[in-house]
């Protein structure tokens, strides 16, 4: 798996222009916005870079050769999840550092514990989103995955709209939020982590199944 990691690192960072552009955009965003949005944004950018390696791998039927290397399909999927998680975490970390640095330059009042919590939260949310993207890229391929992502975001939007429109659901959400506010933070955090791990595990197994069904 070390070889696969190395391949992805080379693919992502051999183009220095992309990395510099990525840093420039992040710093620009941090100056332009007075919020922790930058943390999630850099996490997302790094995650997208990581997922882009699937496109590189698939280009010109490259997957056939990769599947002949001493790394089976399970190793490939495992590596993609780990690499993407590490990239998202690194992105959120870079975002947090940029946020603190820019806040210091702008002389903004900071609440480090709260901001770091945001960083961790964004890393988790982004890694769930990126895990879904891995599944879609592996299952539908690079071209079809764009359409699939569009459809998924459309469905999410429609669901959110439906929740807003249906009064019963709204009041349900309000009472759920009320329960949450009375629940100790440690319980919420533990439940959140279990939920997070479960979602990632489901996406991982679905990705593995999709790759195992594929022919090259």
């Amino acid at each position: 798996m070390k070889g696969l990691f190395l391949k992805d690192i080379y693919l992502n960072f051999s183009n220095r222009r992309n990395v510099l552009l990525f840093l420039f955009i992040s710093i620009f965003m941090a100056f332009a916005m007075d919020s922790t949005f930058i943390i999630g944004y850099t996490g997302m950018l790094m995650g997208i870079l990581a997922i882009g390696t699937i496109s590189y791998d698939s280009h010109e039927n490259g997957m056939a050769f990769l599947m002949c290397l001493p790394a089976n399909r399970k190793d490939y999927v495992k590596e993609k999840f780990l690499y993407t998680f590490l990239m998202v975490t690194a992105g959120c970390l870079i975002g947090t550092i940029i946020y603190f640095a820019v806040s210091a330059i702008k002389n903004t009042t900071l609440d480090p514990i709260s901001q770091l919590s945001f960083g961790v939260f964004f890393a988790l949310v982004m890694s769930v989103m990126m895990s879904l993207m891995i599944l879609i890229e592996i299952k539908y391929g690079v071209e079809k995955s764009r359409t699939a992502m569009f459809v998924i975001y459309g469905v999410v939007f429609l669901l959110a709209y439906a929740v807003k429109q249906i009064r019963g659901l709204q009041s349900g959400l309000v009472s759920f939020a009320d329960i949450l506010s009375r629940t100790p933070v440690s319980v919420i955090a533990a439940a959140g982590l279990v939920l997070y791990a479960s979602i990632i595990a489901v996406f991982y197994f679905l990705s593995l199944r999709a790759l195992e069904k594929k022919e090259f």
Binding site: Y10, M63, D75
Partner: protein, 283 residues
Amino acid sequence: MIQINGLKKKYKDFSLDISFDLPVGRVSGLVGKNGAGKSTTLKAILGLIKTDGGSVKVFGKDAVRLDAEDRQKMGVALSDSAFSGYLTVKQIKNILKNMYRSFDEDMFEDLCKKMDLPFNKQTREFSTGMKAKLRVIAALCHKAKLLVMDEPTSGLDVEARNEVLDILREYLAKDEEASLLISSHISSDLEGLCDDIYLIDEGRLLLHEQTDQLLDKYGVIKTDDAVFEKLDKDHILAYKKEKFGYSAFTDEKEYYKENYPDLIIENGNIDDLILIMTGGKKK
């Protein structure tokens, strides 16, 4: 090394049904026209496709169950697939070093230098020939016991083809237990390399013969219509109508030389084998 027993694979307008073995230390060539089933057979061996019947065993294990440990012992060069073109040779070397326990870094560097492959250039900027050379080199530098190569000399000029074939011969000479299964449509490549040849056409195995037997005993009879009509056809495998009369492929050229001294009989080669056996009428 490889046992294929009744391998079946069906596509929309093509079906493969084939059986053969590749013993330890054997160098076998798969020949046939484009679309004959060579690449499909190799993909089944590599576990890249699911089969519709029969069994494909590699190292005694089902090909679809080959694990990372088995693949340490395999060297693969595919005609239409390789590492991303955005990687350089130097990066590919580092990746392979971290993938194969027995990766021979010096051998990789020496071969790349010998083949004039630049280390710091992205391989997407390479010519077709340079890419083909790199694919072969990448398959050879980790002491693989089983080499599977699909059209490894495709896109190479004569000089480069000979260089690649020399590397393969050298590798096989060093390790007599290493086996090679190679497909090619360039017959001369296989004649000088393979112990035996499998001819595939429309997904079926048409002929299996030792290469030296093929070159010694097989021949092409070229004759006009009248002589062909009277010819004893017991040892004619296939024939083809030509402008001048007939070309007939025989597995007993000495018989015809002795009994028909006036006949024009050319030595057999793999090109004739493909042309007449797949394009002509079989007896």
